[in-house]
Symmetry: D3
Subunit: 111 residues, 6 copies
């Protein structure tokens, strides 16, 4: 399951400082926001990645690329999402996001 | 058509300084990036809005809310998109985006 | 009470789109995060304002200036907080924050 | 003189909260950084505007458009500077900066 | 002393390019801003960290975590500061800041 | 030539995901924007670096430091550009940019 996996990936060995974050991610982010029915999980993955590339959060782009694939996004769709960042965020953020996404897709063997 | 409308909305009376921007928006952004087939127009509208709320571009949120409605997004889906910004961008950016989106939907009479 | 007041100020007439935000602000932000005992309310007000000036959220600086005063911060301390933004955020963000804070203090009659 | 004018424009009636900012702007920013000889004033105006458009500081774009004109920049050069923001910062920030710059040039009657 | 230590940590072997930065950090930031009496050093450490987590400056979070400990902040208070970033800055920036802070506290042996 | 070199540096082995980015960088950014005559290449290098330091794009600061040297900028001018970021962007972004620039200049043997 994505929520659990995402949280686990992030906080494999939750310390005293990471434990409340793990709770927030699992309970509020995945448990509450992601479960609302008005948008399907694949669309949520795409808009999450759009927010992350726009704010330069490379590490989270990798995590959510895994989630997007689990939620049905293809390599072609993800490539397109990062290209779409060019006119709205500029080349440097687009490149950072695409590099992180591509590395993750290659690790996953997604073609 | 969205591309033309969006550009026109932005640059109704293009001056010498705005004219090359109008060209970039029309030819590169709408003419080239938005026309690529791997993502449909509604999905492009949603990820555009996701990038704009994440970077606090309120004026452009209004323009692209109009585009998203033209491309088939519902009030419920747009509401959901901005709520999804809460865990990734924080409350202040989510609120700014939602207020701008709601004002535009109300102007358009979209329920 | 600050939590209720802050939420009310923000969402006086909660619409269908603002209502889940009001719930998030009241229940999660004020009800959960702000109630944790390890930092007192005045310190939370100061670090909230520090985050808001650093990200250029002028409207929220005004709201949280009211909260900071309610939580015991003085005009002198708030002035100092925005000056402290100079070396870490630069002059433009410092000025925007100070102007918003000062306008609110003057409205409140805080000297 | 630019330094004095810029500071005055900013803080016409310095209050108790604005007075230390006026001191920082006059003494450190204009008095110390801008006076270093390795870059001429016109180049400093251009890189200042480049930093301000990249960070979306519209109000300061207006102030420094005045300074850039005083330091010898032409309408054509300023137009070009904001167009140059397209590939590095994206369309929304470029548009915001160009609109602010153009309004100021028109106020000044610079053709 | 913190000011000196912070600067030294940053610029151990000041080169021709780093030397004026070392001067700015020592003389203006620590020598002038941090010495103003209206906020105590521990509060300044907390608002500095709040500004740094909000802007994603991970390297500086580490430096100022050391400073905060030197100025009397506890592990519990620092943990709380980064959790407080969740509603205002979102999860990705909160996580980056908490990870950097925790690594530094562990290096220092602060429990 | 800078355009070609910059693109090559960036995308040495263009993959399916990087290939459209290489096209955008080569054709639109370097081929179209950089070729406009109203600003010379050295000035374009300086304003590019100003935008990159302001947005914390360290990797691109390195690439464009090489370009700036190829376009005639001296070590002294580049040092001055990053110092100029202090009052507008704050110390953390100035330091990140200066460190990246200095490392590149040292690699190039530019004194």
């Amino acid at each position: 399951m994505f929520g659990k996996e995402g949280a686990d990936d992030h906080h494999a060995n939750a310390s005293d400082m990471m434990e409340p974050i793990q709770d927030i991610v699992t309970r509020i982010c995945f448990g509450e926001i992601w479960q609302r029915p008005a948008l399907d999980l694949k669309t949520r993955s795409l808009i999450t990645l759009a927010m992350l590339v726009a704010t330069g959060r490379t590490h989270e782009v990798k995590i959510h690329t895994r989630g997007a694939v689990a939620n049905g996004a293809t390599r072609e769709e993800l490539k397109e999402l990062f290209l779409h960042a060019f006119p709205y965020c500029g080349i440097p953020l687009m490149v950072d996001g695409m590099v992180a996404c591509e590395a993750t897709l290659n690790e996953l063997g997604v073609k």
